[in-house]
């Protein structure tokens, strides 16, 4: 009767990544940090760092474009 959370989470991760409307970088960060069986205790910190990195890359890209 116990819920098979690992399978459920994996399925949710797949659903997220395969959804064409979703930003794939964010989907990957959420899936790997929150929906993986080996979720770390500081997964929120890691996800935040990952998102900041992406934001930085976008900013670098736009800055270079402008330059």
């Amino acid at each position: 009767m116990k819920a098979n959370c690992i399978d459920i989470l994996e399925e949710l991760g797949q659903t997220l990544k395969e959804n064409g409307d979703f930003n794939t970088d964010i989907a990957t960060i959420i899936a790997s940090n929150f929906l993986s069986p080996e979720t770390s205790e500081n997964c929120v910190d890691l996800a935040i760092d990952g998102i900041h990195e992406i934001a930085q890359k976008i900013a670098d890209h736009n800055k270079n474009d402008l330059a």
């Binding site: 959370c5 989470l9 964010i26 929150f34 929906l35 979720t39 998102i51 900041h52 934001a55």
Partner: protein
């Protein structure tokens, strides 16, 4: 299906049980114990709780004697020590095909749970023990957080709910990052610092104006079009700054000045002051040497004019060299021996006597030598300092440098340095100092005003801040877009997880409702376990709600339900949990769970146990006789053992009077050499009660105080009357000497006394008992279906005669 079975339990010196008491579950896995309060029935449940507990204690005792908790010392019977009985509980646990005896001591500080119990404990997702006194608290005092903890653990939902919490946390923190104005404020602060508070925050136009003003202060021709590193005016400014940087700075100029002044300085020159420095010293030394030489010459001439002039001139070498070993006169070559003096020694003596006249000359020679030394020394220091000065002069002082280089060369070539050279050097140094002073003054002025470097640095800092701000805005914009994506995706996930979790919760809600309805009847309100709103998700709550008004709006149960409804709700949740989650260890232990129920509800709980928990091994204790009798009534044909505690003995423990006597129990008593008279009598009464009920005999309604207890005479009379009316006469049993059976057979009933009479048949031998038992069982056999031989009957109200209760038989009863 059963993986585990509690096969046997033995207690000694434990709680109310002093002497060892064994409960066998091998043949009949379930047990119901009736006892009035204070007779030790809960001690049986205590034994299970103690065995299953992690720390070897009971929840109500606590781990130590403090406040209301008695502590683990209360586990032991108060006479256990006095009687030298080791307080302990033994459990024979059957797991699959093997049985293990597990002992747990109830004394000492280390009462660690035996390892052999762990596999069973692991299967208890929900505690298998339900105590009646906890039920109300389970609903009323259990907070949403407690419930959440329980249910989440039961279903192992934590990983899913953790995802929801993490996503919410991510959203919250990301939103905070997006809305964080601190970096922009820091930029404003930097702008404020750079512009000396002229501007308090960044503004493209105002900052450009400010930068233009800075550039214009350095040079009005420098007009910035935009605040950019590629702006032509800025590039020009950068070039000039570089040029400025390449020139000597204040420190360098001051060093030149110091070195030059150490060579030559005119102190208070305007007011006729003196000149100092190495060159001045050199000049002085040269001048002094000249004077000394002149003076020496004068003294020499004066000495030559004296009476010894000629002699002196001739003897000078002798005087000077102190050479007394001379043979001839150095002047006239006259042999000294033939001279007037006659010997060099006499000449020496003569000269000595006239030495005072030569002293002045000697002093002047000495002074000349000193002056010469002084010239050499000052020349050396002048050369060194001049060399040092040449080393720090840059291309901006090339003219002075070339002149001074010549001066140095002349100094190095002894004899070439003259007054003219000194004057040239002095003049050059004077000009150099003037030039340096001018530059220093200019630089000092630039320090307070807008030098190119200063302006360039300020504008460069503004450009850097502009770029940093621009980058920051780009990043914040990207972060904002990503945050929106996180919100969209996390909402999607949270919604999905919520759906999944609610579906899982509904798996529990369905049996809860089913059980609740079974107890409370068809009009029972609907119960729902509901996750809190998204906002509350992180608060680890799970709401228990009921549709009290039946209109779909849900409310907290404790404010609306009656006492028995609250109990039923708690019981339903616990039972549903046990049934749903403990399937690998189907064990249910109920301690006095019907206190607040009326007769109907008690019956409903009995039928619930009979219908829903047939797979379970159930241990029930109750002080409610009506409930106990209901259980017997509904589960009598199931593998249940019914027993009651008739008294509590201090030196022994609870004394049982068993119900549902089996042949095994009677044979066991005989094999142990003890009388089975009580058991036989009880077996007779059990049969009598059963057949009377199934035949539907008429019994007078009893007085209120014993409404559910029948005397054997009453039942026997009613059965005999019933059979008489139907003209049914039980067949005679050969050799019968049992008054009870004879009465029934003949329909003449005596008063047989109460069930609990100590010696119901007086003192009879085991042999007599065996005869009596045989006669009874033979008599009982006569009450069998004439068709299928089964011994269970029923008589619906519409029938006069009972019929076989076996499905698809229903043959009318008749003695064969």
């Amino acid at each position: 299906m059963t993986n585990f079975l509690l096969k046997k339990l033995e207690m000694s010196g434990f709680r109310a049980y002093l002497k060892p008491k064994t409960f066998e579950f091998a043949d009949r896995k379930s047990l119901a114990v009736f006892a009035p309060n204070g007779h030790g029935k809960s001690s049986l449940v205590d034994a299970f709780e103690f065995m299953f507990s992690e720390n070897g204690t009971l929840e109500r005792l606590g781990l130590r004697a403090i406040n209301n908790s008695a502590g683990p010392s209360a586990l032991a019977h108060y006479k256990a020590s006095e009687k030298s009985i080791q307080p302990e509980v033994k459990l024979w646990l059957k797991a699959g095909s093997s049985t293990e005896e597990i002992i747990r001591k109830a004394t000492g500080t280390s009462r660690t749970r035996p390892l052999a119990l762990e596999p069973l404990i692991e299967c208890f997702t929900v505690s298998p023990i339900i105590r009646g006194h906890e039920l109300r608290a389970f609903v009323e005092r259990q907070t949403s957080e407690d419930r959440y903890k329980d249910v989440v653990r039961w279903f192992d939902l934590e990983p899913l709910l953790r995802v929801q919490r993490n996503l919410k946390e991510l959203r919250k923190r990301l939103k905070a990052d997006v809305e964080n104005e601190q970096p922009i404020k820091e930029i404003d602060r930097a702008v404020s610092n750079l512009t000396a508070n002229t501007l308090t925050s960044w503004n493209d136009d105002l900052v450009l104006d400010y930068a233009r003003k800075l550039a214009s202060a350095a040079d009005t021709t420098l007009v910035l079009d935009r605040l950019d590193g590629a702006d032509p005016a800025y590039l020009e400014l950068a070039r000039r700054c570089k040029d400025e940087e390449e020139r000597l700075g204040i420190e360098g100029l001051q060093q030149i000045r110091r070195t030059a002044l150490s060579l030559y300085e005119e102190q208070d020159f305007q007011t006729g002051g003196k000149c100092i420095g190495h060159i001045a010293a050199l000049e002085t030394a040269v001048s002094q040497l000249k004077e000394a030489v002149e003076h020496e010459n004068e003294e020499k001439s004066s000495a030559a004019k004296s009476v010894f002039a000629r002699l002196w001139q001739a003897a000078e070498p002798l005087f000077c060299d102190q050479n007394i070993d001379i043979q001839n006169c150095p002047v006239c070559a006259t042999p000294i021996a033939t001279s007037e003096a006659g010997s060099a020694e006499i000449i020496h003596q003569h000269l000595k006597s006239n030495l005072s006249e030569l002293e002045k000359y000697a002093k002047s020679v000495e002074q000349s030598k000193l002056a010469e030394t002084n010239v050499a020394s000052t020349k050396s220091s002048t050369k060194a300092t001049l060399g040092a000065l040449l080393g720090i002069l840059d291309s901006h002082h090339s003219n002075a440098k070339s002149i001074l280089e010549i001066s140095l060369k002349k100094l190095e070539n002894s004899g070439e340095w003259d007054v003219q050279d000194a004057e040239t050097a002095k003049s050059t140094i004077r000009d150099l100092i003037k030039s340096v002073d001018c530059k220093l003054a200019e630089l000092s002025q630039n320090l307070s005003q807008a030098s190119y470097c200063n302006v360039h640095a300020a504008i460069s800092a503004l450009i850097a801040i502009k770029n940093e701000r621009h980058y920051l805005l780009l990043k914040q914009s990207a972060l904002s877009d990503l945050s929106d994506q996180v919100t969209i995706q996390s909402n999607f996930l949270i919604g999905k997880i919520r759906e999944i979790v609610q579906k899982i919760l509904d798996k529990l809600t369905v049996p809860i409702n089913s059980i609740y309805k079974e107890i409370q009847g068809a009009n029972a309100v609907a119960i729902k376990l509901e996750l809190p709103s998204d906002e509350e998700l992180v608060m680890h709550k799970l709401h228990l709600l009921v549709d009290f008004a039946g209109n779909g709006s849900r409310v907290q149960p404790s404010g609306y339900l009656s006492d028995s409804q609250i109990h039923s709700l708690a019981l339903a949740i616990r039972l549903a949990g046990i049934k749903l989650f403990n399937d690998k260890a189907p064990i249910l232990i109920l301690d006095d769970i019907v206190t607040s129920y009326d007769a109907d509800h008690r019956r409903n709980i009995c039928s619930l146990l009979a219908k829903e928990f047939t797979e379970f091994q159930v241990i029930v204790t109750t002080h409610d006789e009506r409930f106990f009798l209901y259980l017997k009534d509904q589960l009598g044909d199931q593998p249940w053992h019914f027993t009651r505690i008739i008294r509590l003995e201090d030196d022994n423990g609870p004394i049982f009077g068993d119900h549902r006597i089996t042949e095994t129990m009677i044979a066991s008593a005989w094999s142990e050499g003890r009388s089975a008279a009580n058991e036989i009598r009880q077996a007779e009464e059990e049969w009598l009660l059963q057949i009377s009920r199934e035949f539907g005999v008429d019994v007078r309604i009893r007085a209120l105080e014993r409404s559910y207890s029948y005397e054997r005479a009453e039942l026997a009379d009613a059965l005999a009357e019933f059979l008489k009316k139907l003209n049914m006469v039980p067949p005679v049993v050969s050799g019968v000497s049992n008054r009870f059976l004879i009465s029934l057979q003949q329909g003449v009933i005596e008063n047989f006394g109460s069930h609990f009479q100590d010696t119901p048949y007086g003192t009879s031998s085991i042999g007599d008992e065996k005869v009596r038992w045989r006669e009874f069982t033979e008599f009982r056999e006569k009450f069998a279906c004439p068709r299928c031989g089964k011994k269970r009957f029923q008589r619906p109200n519409s029938l006069r005669k009972p019929v076989c209760s076996a499905t698809a038989c229903e043959t009318q009863f008749a003695f064969s």
